[in-house]
Amino acid sequence: MADRNGNIIRLLVANERLEVAESIGRYLNDFPQVSVIGTTHTLDDTLGCARELRPSAVLCDYQRFKPETLERIRRLRQELPEVCIIAMSYDAQQTDEVIQAGANQFIPKFELSGCLLDALEQCTAPLS
């Protein structure tokens, strides 16, 4: 698995709780094709890290009753048009909303281990 240029996927993980972002980051760092370059939790930290580190993909937590999590997706899309944004949420009903906000993919957060790598692979598949 790699990005469109065949490079390691440089991933930023953003979650409302930093310890969750860090745990997901530890899990993904076991995969050699993924390099977790940062973990963040606030909107400002996420945008700041994204601007500075220019990840190839961002994994974002989305919670329906926390509008700042949707705003994070919108702002990332505005500032980094080419980045792959994967939204994860326990609320599977909000798929359309996160895609409209600018996410490339939605994965159910309850099924992370089964969905996350596939999502990264699809998100960064070589252009035909």
């Binding site: 310890e19 919670q63 609320d91 309850f110 992370l112």
Partner: protein
């Protein structure tokens, strides 16, 4: 404390997690198992300790990061309240030291939320397995360890 199989064919569970989205997702997941019954879901240590002792869940699913206390500090009070219950820690904080602390505190199993969809149900069944190795269920759906 002696181990015992569930008194009925249904397994009663209590969930302690302050994320309403996770509560809903877990309830939906458990609804796929006819013999697993979510008796209560609460968002704090105070709420769970206020539940009636007569509820007598077979399993308590416990998150670590609660608004009023750290989950590990709740294991002993839960086992005092429900001595027959098996406490399964269910958290994103999956690293060896945390697992060790949870088991040392009395947890029967530790499941990472990253693997909840595949590992939780086997962990529940493993935790309730009698010490003689016999299955308390007529049919089994999971065999893997919860660790």
């Amino acid at each position: 404390m002696s181990e015992s199989a569930p008194k009925t064919s249904r397994v009663g569970l209590v969930l302690i997690d302050d994320n309403p989205g996770f509560q809903a997702a877990l309830a939906d997941h458990l609804s796929g198992y006819a013999d697993l019954s979510l008796l209560a879901k609460v968002g704090s240590g105070g709420e769970v300790l206020a539940l009636p002792a007569a509820l007598e869940p077979d399993v308590v699913l416990l998150d670590m990061h609660l608004p009023d206390r750290f989950g590990l500090d709740l294991i002993a009070p839960l086992l005092e309240k429900w001595p027959r219950a098996k406490v399964i820690v269910l958290t994103f904080d999956d690293y060896p030291r945390m697992r060790q602390r949870a088991i040392a505190a009395g947890a029967a199993a530790f499941v990472s939320k990253i693997d909840a969809a595949t590992e939780l149900e086997p962990a529940i069944r493993n935790a309730l397995r009698p010490s003689n190795g016999e299955s308390p269920w007529q049919t089994e759906t999971g065999t893997s360890s919860g660790y």
